[in-house]
């Protein structure tokens, strides 16, 4: 049978530049063998030692791949006038992750551990971790991930460094006060490990940007301090099928877990709803021992590294709490909730939602919805006092706060005691309520108004504003 074989560009050099060659053969294999006769180099190029067509060369009979037409090319017949086309297989790709000599020395203490080795270190270098929050938890987390050689670390934080942060946020120095956190963080982390990439995201995480942002990372580590963000992060991780390494802190206690909806429960399985607003104060109100986030954030980094390396038992389905005062770790076993709104069998959340609404947050209380009339500025208060106006100034903070600083001539009634002490006051009197800033005083005001105290005001900005604007000799905290 007279068969024409079309020669691809890279093989033409072996047949004197011919674009096609005519041969006599009865099968595809015989046709190729006849072709190989023309040139020893060609034979070496396209046939292996056993005389079979190498697998990086395809041969098409008409439009069909000849290998699909029979058990072997020897069993595929050809007819007069058939056309065979040789198609070289084309493949390629990006370079492997490589470690420089400096990196090998830098990570030597990793490389000699059987659970890491050079393969694990390369995996660390190839991984991308997004750290939400560069604060108390984010500090040890990012520092340890950078030290370990995680190739790309994304840092999400919209804040600037404040003096009150440095008691626990050891990523920063005193000289960083006033700088955007992500900038100071990047500088510190790059100095620690110049071989990795730090990506800064100075932004508020929101429903409309979370999916795109998370998509570029492999693992998300949640170190935030508010409920709307926790639910937002959780839901996005479930929807994108990415693990969420979770941690939280309060005073002397901390919590850690890994929420990976593909293998176990998510945050919503454990907490389908957030607590009522006001029940869980932020650090500014509740306080935290500085070293506590150091411990918990480091545990968070540990879980991230274990996930990347694929070693040990990650905290999936396990919720660990640590009490620093009695030095006890407690572990709760948590199960996937089949009715979970986002990771259950019939999810109702299929895209990020309005988390502020979900958490009913409008600040612990919103100044806006109370109306102007009930607020009084520190300047106003100062003026009225100087003018001799009569009113009771009520300090509703905790005793230990009062010891730090207070506005002169104020009565102390801690917020929790207020309901039982209302009878001490005359509801006809004028009252001005203050706390550290504004949160608790607004709640106290509501209480007074409900109890019939018609002449109650809230000192906007509290003792903090007084110390800033009226008497700067007073300390702020």
């Amino acid at each position: 049978m007279s068969v024409k074989i079309l020669i691809p560009t890279p093989l033409r050099r072996f047949v004197d530049g011919a674009k096609s060659v005519e041969v006599e053969a009865a099968t595809v294999e015989a046709a190729l063998a006849a072709l190989a006769e023309r040139s020893a180099d060609l034979r070496k190029q396209i046939f292996d030692d056993a005389g079979h067509l190498r697998n990086f060369v395809n041969v098409f009979l008409g439009d069909r791949n000849a290998r699909e037409l029979g058990a072997s090319l020897a069993e595929v017949p050809v007819r007069d006038g058939d056309v065979l086309v040789l198609i070289p297989a084309i493949a390629g790709g990006a370079p492997e992750v490589k470690l420089s000599r400096e990196e090998i020395l830098r990570y030597s203490r990793h490389l000699i551990i059987p659970e890491v080795t050079i393969e694990g270190q390369k995996r660390l270098k190839a991984s991308k971790v997004l750290c939400i929050g560069a604060g108390g938890l984010g500090s040890p987390l990012t520092l340890y991930l950078a030290a370990a050689g995680v190739g790309r670390i994304g840092v999400v934080d919209f804040d600037t460094v404040d003096l009150t942060n440095i008691q626990r946020q050891i990523l920063y120095s005193t000289g960083d006060v006033g700088r955007p956190k992500v900038e100071a963080a990047r500088e510190r982390l790059e100095a620690l490990n110049p071989n990795i990439e730090i990506v800064t995201h100075s932004m508020h995480l929101a429903s409309w940007n979370v999916m795109d942002l998370f998509g570029a990372y492999d693992i998300i580590a949640d170190g935030t301090d508010n409920f709307p963000t926790r639910y937002l992060v959780n839901d996005a991780c479930v929807l994108l099928r990415k693990p969420n390494v979770y941690a939280s802190i309060f005073r002397f206690e901390g919590q850690v877990s890994v929420f990976d909806a593909a293998r176990g429960p998510c945050y919503r399985c454990l907490f389908p709803e957030p607590p009522p607003p006001g029940l869980s104060p932020s650090c500014a109100e509740g306080g935290v021992l500085g070293v506590l986030p150091g411990i918990i954030g480091s545990l968070q980094a540990l879980e991230v590294l274990k996930l990347i390396l694929g070693v040990g038992e990650p905290l999936i389905g396990r919720f660990v709490t640590f009490d620093g005062l009695d030095f006890k770790f407690r572990e709760l076993s948590i199960a996937k909730n089949k009715e979970c709104a986002v990771c259950g069998t019939s999810p109702t959340v299929t895209a990020p939602v309005d988390y502020e609404a979900f958490c009913q947050v409008r600040g612990a209380a919103s100044e806006a919805d109370l109306g102007q009339a009930t607020l009084i500025s520190v300047e106003d208060l100062h003026q009225r006092r100087d003018a001799g106006e009569q009113f009771r100034l009520l300090d509703v903070r905790e005793p230990h706060e009062r010891k730090i600083v207070s506005i002169p001539d104020s009565i102390h009634t801690p917020f929790d005691e207020l309901p039982s002490r209302l009878h001490e006051f005359d509801s006809a009197d004028q009252f001005v309520v203050y706390c550290h800033k504004t949160g608790r005083s607004l709640d106290a005001w509501r209480l007074l108004r409900k109890a019939g105290f018609g002449n109650a005001y809230v000192l906007s900005g509290g003792v903090d504003a007084w110390a800033q604007r009226i008497d700067p000799t007073l300390p702020r905290y």
Partner: protein
């Protein structure tokens, strides 16, 4: 080695870059249709044909052009009196330098274009061919 090519026509280069950006973060790949052989006659790339990525490994790091697709492109080139002169692919978030994997899978005689794409934006474009030594060399104009 003195392989040469005619500078890429602007429209061709734009189309190539757009395709590489569109596939990010995965590797884009495709065929180059034109004339020349690099040595006796400089390559002239007249058209590109974006290809699906048939690699069974991670598409962010590997590409494979399906043989059926290639067959069609060869046929089209032949019918329009031209050749498949080479192939292009992208390196997402990597420099456009060829890898060892690229080298061991490359054919002498083809023009290889590698386009770096960083965070979705195309960057440097390298023009390469396999020299008699078996290693890649730059193709000049």
């Amino acid at each position: 080695m003195s392989a040469t090519l005619v500078p890429l026509p602007a429209a061709v280069e734009t189309q190539l870059r757009r395709h590489c950006e569109a596939e990010y973060p995965h590797e884009a790949c495709g065929a180059l249709i034109g004339t020349g052989d690099g040595e006796n006659q400089p390559w002239l790339v007249e058209e590109i044909r974006p290809a699906p990525n048939a690699h069974t490994d991670d598409h962010k790091r590997r590409y494979l052009i399906p043989p059926d697709f290639q067959m069609q492109v060869e046929k089209y080139a032949r019918e329009t009196d031209r050749d498949v002169v080479g192939f292009y692919h992208s390196h997402p978030d990597h420099p456009a330098d060829p890898s060892e994997y690229d080298r061991t899978h490359a054919w002498p005689g083809y023009l290889y274009l590698i386009c770096a794409v960083r965070k979705g934006v195309s960057a440097e474009l390298q023009k390469l061919a396999i020299a008699p030594t078996g290693f890649f060399c730059q193709v000049g104009t």
